[in-house]
């Protein structure tokens, strides 16, 4: 099978901090690929570079035959992304957020209408389509973002901790849909998660990153065999150690706290 993502010697430094340290990996077309690692290991930074949001310090990336740093617009056509942090417009309704996305991605209006209805029914938000997103709970926002990321039927979908804060029902429902989409349309799925059993169950191949380096890769079975453990969770702990990692608070977190202090007045 051909590779849809190829990463060679990728390096990203912020000042003298190395977030991603010369990593190389590839993802095959039509594969479900999990990218695992403790907090602050370099997962999100890697995804940002793959999705044109950050320029690598050095190294090369090829996504569907194009280079995100050199030809970002072409690359952006090929993927969809569900970010770790919310990225919806709170002041618009759920349906308006979907429509906005559809227009930006050039989905023709008839198809757009049909898919919006289908996807919003699937995430069970169709009844709330005309509510402002700011009235939604965290879980509802998450579901809406997943629906939105699928709207333009991308070749690769990136999901950065998509199931964080979702109940088991919704999680299960979401993966069923994604696996279905993967089978039927051959969509490549690239995701990160902290739920190891989820990665073991869903992903065909897994890469584990820690301190900016890929320390293991293979199927869940390969990884448990390699580490002589009983489950992916144990394998993960054995590979990455068991001390707790702290991520530095980002500017976003700081601002959110401030916004809270100001009585939730955000705009």
């Amino acid at each position: 099978m051909e590779n849809i993502i190829e990463v060679k010697n990728l390096l990203k430094q912020f000042g003298d901090f190395t977030a991603v340290d010369h990593i190389s990996f590839e993802v095959k077309k039509g594969e479900i690929f999990a990218f695992l690692g403790p907090n602050g290991a370099g997962k999100s930074t890697t995804i940002k570079m793959l999705t044109t949001l950050l320029r690598p310090t050095s190294g090369t990336i090829t996504l569907d035959g194009h280079n995100p740093a050199g030809d970002p617009e072409e690359v952006r056509r090929s993927f969809g992304i569900v970010f770790q942090d919310p990225s919806l417009d709170d002041e618009l309704t759920a349906k308006e957020n979907m429509e906005f996305h559809g227009v930006l991605y050039g989905v023709p209006s008839k198809l757009r209408k049909q898919r919006i209805e289908e996807l919003m029914k699937f995430v069970e938000l169709w009844d709330r389509r005309d509510s402002l997103v700011k009235e939604f709970s965290g879980g509802m926002k998450r579901r809406l973002e997943i629906a939105r990321g699928l709207l333009h039927h991308p070749k690769v979908i990136f999901l950065d901790e998509p199931t964080l804060g979702l109940d088991p029902q919704t999680r299960n429902h979401m993966w069923t849909y994604l696996q279905d989409l993967n089978k039927k349309e051959g969509v490549t799925v690239f995701f990160t998660t902290h739920y190891m059993e989820e990665a073991a169950r869903i992903a065909q191949r897994i890469a584990i990153i820690d301190h900016g380096k890929i320390i293991a890769a293979g199927s869940a079975a390969d990884l448990t065999k390699q580490t002589q453990t009983a489950s992916l969770e144990e394998a993960f702990l054995k590979l990455t150690g068991s001390e707790i990692r702290d991520e530095e608070s980002s500017a976003t977190d700081r601002l959110r706290n401030r916004a809270k202090m100001m009585g939730g007045r955000r705009r």
């Binding site: 044109t52 617009e73 970010f83 990225s87 417009d89 618009l92 996305h101 227009v103 976003t252 955000r266």
Partner: protein, 248 residues
């Protein structure tokens, strides 16, 4: 084209939905208009400068435009902090179109805000010198609004978070407003102040409003127009460049 339209539409939807913002941002211009307009009217008249209220209205229209426009531009910081910016930045459309759509949207909103102040002023007795020139004045309002939205966008593109916001208010927006001749005539100023008013683009905006609405001008409408067009073009180019360089 569709990108520009949808970005523009988003700005307008947000504006019409937040009634509190709409009304809240009218409070300050109205306060200036009424307190200063009536408070200083007699002094102004005694100095032989004519009707202060008539003189002040174009200035206050300019004030509400610059405030709203820079705020609209700066909204990018909020969009960055609350994630929505990423959604637009990973879309397969040119950032230039995103920037143009946003800027047009913000400028439209600022122009509407200026027109509301204009209408309110009429309720308090303001009368334009020539009704036929009011639509031309609206075109100039849009030009001024574009200029300052582009400026706000450019600034917001390089700011990490809201920390710098107060700085911008105190060291950019306020000086631009107070040194623009919105509140006082530009003739006969001390030379330092006169020099500052000449480099303030808002001076030309407000002067053009005065030329069109109350038929008095300091620089002349032709100069106003030329300066506004050139500065707007420069800010748009610089703003687009900075916006295209955003990383999140």
């Amino acid at each position: 084209m569709k990108t520009i339209y949808i970005m523009w539409l988003r700005e307008l939807k947000r504006y019409f939905r937040s009634k509190s913002r709409m009304i809240g941002s009218l409070g300050q211009p109205l306060l200036f208009l009424l307190a200063l307009g009536y408070g200083l009217g007699s002094v102004f008249q005694a100095a032989g400068q004519g009707n202060y209220f008539q003189f002040l209205v174009p200035g206050i229209v300019g004030m509400s435009i610059i405030f709203t426009a820079i705020f609209s531009g700066i909204q990018i910081i909020w969009d960055r902090q609350f994630g929505f910016l990423k959604e637009t930045l990973v879309a397969p459309v040119s950032r230039l179109n995103i920037m143009i759509g946003r800027t047009l949207g913000g400028a439209t909103v600022a122009t509407l805000q200026g027109m509301i102040v204009f209408i309110l002023a009429m309720l308090f007795g303001f009368r334009p010198d020539n009704w036929w020139l009011v639509p031309v004045a609206v075109v100039f309002m849009l030009l001024v609004a574009l200029l300052f939205t582009a400026l706000g966008t450019g600034i917001a593109s390089v700011l990490e978070d809201m920390q710098g916001f107060q700085l911008i208010m105190n060291f950019l927006v306020m000086p631009l407003f107070f040194l623009s001749g919105a509140l006082f005539p530009l003739s006969g100023l001390p030379s330092i102040l006169a020099g500052l008013t000449i480099i303030d683009p808002l001076s030309y905006g407000i002067d053009s409003f005065r030329a069109l609405l109350v038929n008095t001008t300091h620089f002349g409408l032709g100069v106003d127009f030329t300066v506004l067009v050139i500065v707007t073009a420069v800010f748009l180019v610089v703003g687009s460049y900075l916006f295209s360089k955003i990383e999140v």
